[in-house]
Symmetry: C2
Subunit: 242 residues, 2 copies
Amino acid sequence: MQGEHPLFSKLARGLDLSEAEASAIRAVPFQSVTFQADQAISREGDRPSKSCLVTEGVTCTSKVTAGGARQIMALHLADDMPDLHSLHLRHLDSDIWAITTCRLAYFSHQDLRQLCRDHVRVAEELWRITLVEGAIHREWMVNIGQRQATSRLAHLFCEVMLRSREIGLAEEDSCPFSVTQSDLSEMTGLSQVHVNRTLQTLREQHLISFGRGRLIIHDWDALVELGDFRPDYLHLDVSKAV
Amino acid sequence: MQGEHPLFSKLARGLDLSEAEASAIRAVPFQSVTFQADQAISREGDRPSKSCLVTEGVTCTSKVTAGGARQIMALHLADDMPDLHSLHLRHLDSDIWAITTCRLAYFSHQDLRQLCRDHVRVAEELWRITLVEGAIHREWMVNIGQRQATSRLAHLFCEVMLRSREIGLAEEDSCPFSVTQSDLSEMTGLSQVHVNRTLQTLREQHLISFGRGRLIIHDWDALVELGDFRPDYLHLDVSKAV
DNA sequence: CGAGGTGTTGAACCGGTTCAACACCCGTGG
DNA sequence: CCACGGGTGTTGAACCGGTTCAACACCTCG
């Protein structure tokens, strides 16, 4: 897939594309842009005329309260589309940040809309992608609202591992995960200090290793149990034949 | 609008419909069903072949953790479509419950898909509706993850008031809101006891009244301030001319 | 070698939880 | 008409998970 059109590799994942669809997708022009870690990619209130796809690195969606507290609402790994929703929403309702240095491919809304009009199945798949994002939001609400610190982190780690595996970035029991403890705290609604202590607990129980840009899960079953992790919400069950 | 086709009144809200679109929408068959308060409408894991629109009452989307704690992830008032996402997701990832007695109109997925294929703008509007749901999810994450109890409730009340106004259910400073304190606790990730105490605080400060199925906001500006409420995320700025 | 970001630790604190008892309200049936 | 019952709301008191603050350690990179 090296050098393949980024939107094509994304869509080919969930869809058995016809010749016509494939070539229409490959014909969508795109622009590659690199962002440094901790750079803002877009800001709340922006009215973008293009949407992006992450080809490398990690981005997140976040908001800051009046009190200055920050919540990260979503993580985007390779092949995720952080602001696809801007295709049909006038303005962005959250910021999008680069967590690591990352590379994005931009597609103009005009081109995407045309693609959708010409190829219904592609439209439906793009729609579906935004729906999965919503499903992940729902699970995160449960995580933040109802689970204890250890479970919250365990759950997050399980998700990251599964999503990394999905895009071919995971080895057997490990995957790249270059986020700080402070990032983790903003994803889970915990304080940075408590994340630190909770990580220690998880490490002491030989469940995970985390650090130097990598997550290693030593005991998947135990982590799943602890995190109350049921992956249905990721909607990975896409058999291409529908 | 009494007696009007429910999907039509919903879509006419955001879209200036052409004759062809309007009649196609009105042609979509639907089935009206009544649910009693606290009845399950659909369950996690279901694979629905139809989606519903709330015509009366209040429903919610929720999940229960392994520990038995329940999180409500979304509220649906009249004209909301609680499981529109099931149109493109194989299975439901959460339960849908009737909070009050309510009336739903059901549309088969087959019909909705056909409608979308025949009328792109309708497809885009339905897609948009699911995207707004996602935007609300994101704001709720901020609410649950970062705000204190008083702000959380204040924020929720502001949202309910605005959404009620949008569908014409609000009087000047009040709207119907028949949920228990326990429901509020599950929406905000607080304990029922603490919701009770927080409500007392809000009442003492003459910000709201809440009870007997009604929410009254006595001081909108103060409540907005307290709740850190910025309504952009509701994406109500739909001028019909695009 | 120094600087700044990240991770770690301890101790005091507090927002919110939990448990358990009680009050209230409304609808039901006797 | 009242007695009853169940759901909802209210209260107090003990408790605890997580926060906050502040200091320090560590690592990496220039």
